[in-house]
Amino acid sequence: MLRVTLTADSLLADLQTAARIASSRSAVQALSGVLVSAAGDYLELQATDMEVSLRVRLSASVEEPGEVVLPARLLLDIVRSLPGASVTLAERSDHHDVEIASGNAVFAVRTLRRDDFPRLPEPPTGGVQLAAQAFVDTIARVARSASRDDTRPVLTGIMVHASGGELRMVATDSYRLSVKTTALDEAVSDSFEANVPARALQELSRIVAQSEADHVTIGRLENQVVFAVHGAGGPATISSRLIDGQFPSYQQLLPESVEHELRVDREELVSVTRRISLLAQKNAPLRLAFAEGQLQVSAQTPDIGEAHETLPVPFHGEAFEIGFNPEFFRDGLESVDSPEVLLRLTSPLRPGLIESADESGFVYLVMPIRLGT
């Protein structure tokens, strides 16, 4: 029968991640819970929504080993509000509950059915090892382009490709496409390619940031991918179902040549875009009008108002105007990690490219919006 004591802060940090992963809408009640198990000198939390799963270990003083399933949201709310620095969890099997005690506060929370909680994948043995920071930086560059539309499952993932000394991630929602290629300090032992749900990778990013891990190990099961993070707090494993289906052939979408290539200060263009986008409401486009030596960014929302701002850019040639979804255009600019961006454009109905100007391997392709007169 489980009896364990640990610091409330460390439990809270990992419970926040576990509660995000625990299912909020499953018919199986145990899936809304977190499996708390204690053994040796650690406590392990497990949570899953049957798509993404988490196992995370944290140091604890274990008086008696055991495992129980507790409602994740409630447990999180309790731990967040505890008055003391440490917390003790003690199972009371005759009451079918767990007593949570901290300071003078005592809670008794009913357990959920252990048998209904699935067995989650173990941390990978072997697998591909990658520098954690490079991995999460690459996720951050492309994640915004992944679709949130569940009717197109294949586009809700990030295509991860690691081979030799190169890591590449690609995401697209059919309106924009992000590709980030990162050079690795150490070549990977085996190549790896899989379409991983963006949500799983974003959770992995949070865990890496929280644990300050050096490396991420990637293992692949039949239709699952398992990431192991060895951080300061304790090992964590996040596993995810892989997405079936043919990922779009993105290479052929990237234009080989363009009509106009402009080097622009990223921060300035981001600021202008943010300001002017305030008047691009109700699906109104952000308009970019290029003329000799200048770019006018403007937006107009009927019955609301309009805005425009001009900035100098090294544009030469025949003037033209192109429209973009303001959010998509801003996402592209914000995903660039260099002081300058390269805007590569051809015509008002051809996709525009936003690239990092420092050859750091980031490309963002965004489809324009047709502009009325």
């Binding site: 197109r152 499952p153 309106y175 289906g245 979408l253 489809m367 047709r370």
Partner: protein, 227 residues
């Protein structure tokens, strides 16, 4: 139709018991004997808080009304409205129900897609609308550039049931050796993720279409690739 806006409390007994404490509400008494109680909320459901369908017996006490009792004639349901203050009380003779003229129903989609079958798939040309099978007609029968047969089922919302329906049609159509390779395409304004998954497993293609784009009232959105 009588519309009474009143500060009232409402008690219902019958299939269950409910109580609405004192508050301002609209009590709608229609000529067909139905009674509805509306609050100023309800959001997307747009449903009355209390209601009684006809046939009913309605007793209104007082002028201005102080109490309304609505009793179901063929049951034991009772709706009682105790009125503290009447804020408005108007009666009008309203027209009887005329069927709604619906736009954007399956029929409209089918007509538009029959005129422009390429929206169902590249190179599609129409062979016939309402292609008969022995278990019912499939919406469109088309052929593609390679003269292959394609059965197209059209729905406003593509569900698992629509996939199953098309799979049944295909089973019957393919009995004819000349159409043994007939493919299936489910076309809808929205296709549910479960339907898409099942369609994939059944080898049926899914295509989402926009009524506005089919009618030419909206330009199609520019995409990097057909998704």
């Amino acid at each position: 139709m009588r519309l009474i806006v009143a500060r009232c409390e409402i008690t219902y007994s019958g299939r269950l018991s409910t109580f609405l404490p004192m508050g301002v509400r609209l009590v709608m008494i229609k000529a067909d004997g139905s009674v509805q109680v509306h609050s100023d909320g309800g959001g997307s459901k747009a449903k009355p808080q209390n209601w009684m369908t006809p046939p009913t017996a309605i007793e209104i006490e007082g002028d201005p009304p102080e109490r309304i009792e609505v009793r179901k004639l063929n049951g034991s349901e009772l709706l009682e409205v105790a009125i503290e203050e009447v804020l408005a009380d108007i009666s009008h003779e309203a027209d009887l129900a005329i069927p709604l003229e619906k736009d954007g129903v399956e029929r409209d989609l089918q007509e538009l897609l029959a005129e422009r079958p390429v929206h169902c798939g590249e190179g599609f040309r129409l062979v016939r609308r309402e292609w008969p099978t022995d278990i019912g007609p499939v919406d469109l029968m088309c052929r593609d550039d390679a003269d292959g047969w394609i059965a197209v089922e059209i729905k406003r919302i593509g569900t698992i049931e629509a996939v199953e329906q098309l799979a049944r049609y295909l089973e019957r159509i393919r009995i004819d050796p000349a159409m043994a390779d007939c493919r299936g395409v489910l076309v809808a304004q929205t296709i549910k993720p479960q339907a898409r998954t099942l369609a994939g497993a059944r080898g049926i293609a899914c295509v989402e279409v926009s009524l506005e784009e089919l009618r030419g009232t909206r330009e199609p959105e520019l995409k990097l690739f057909a998704a």
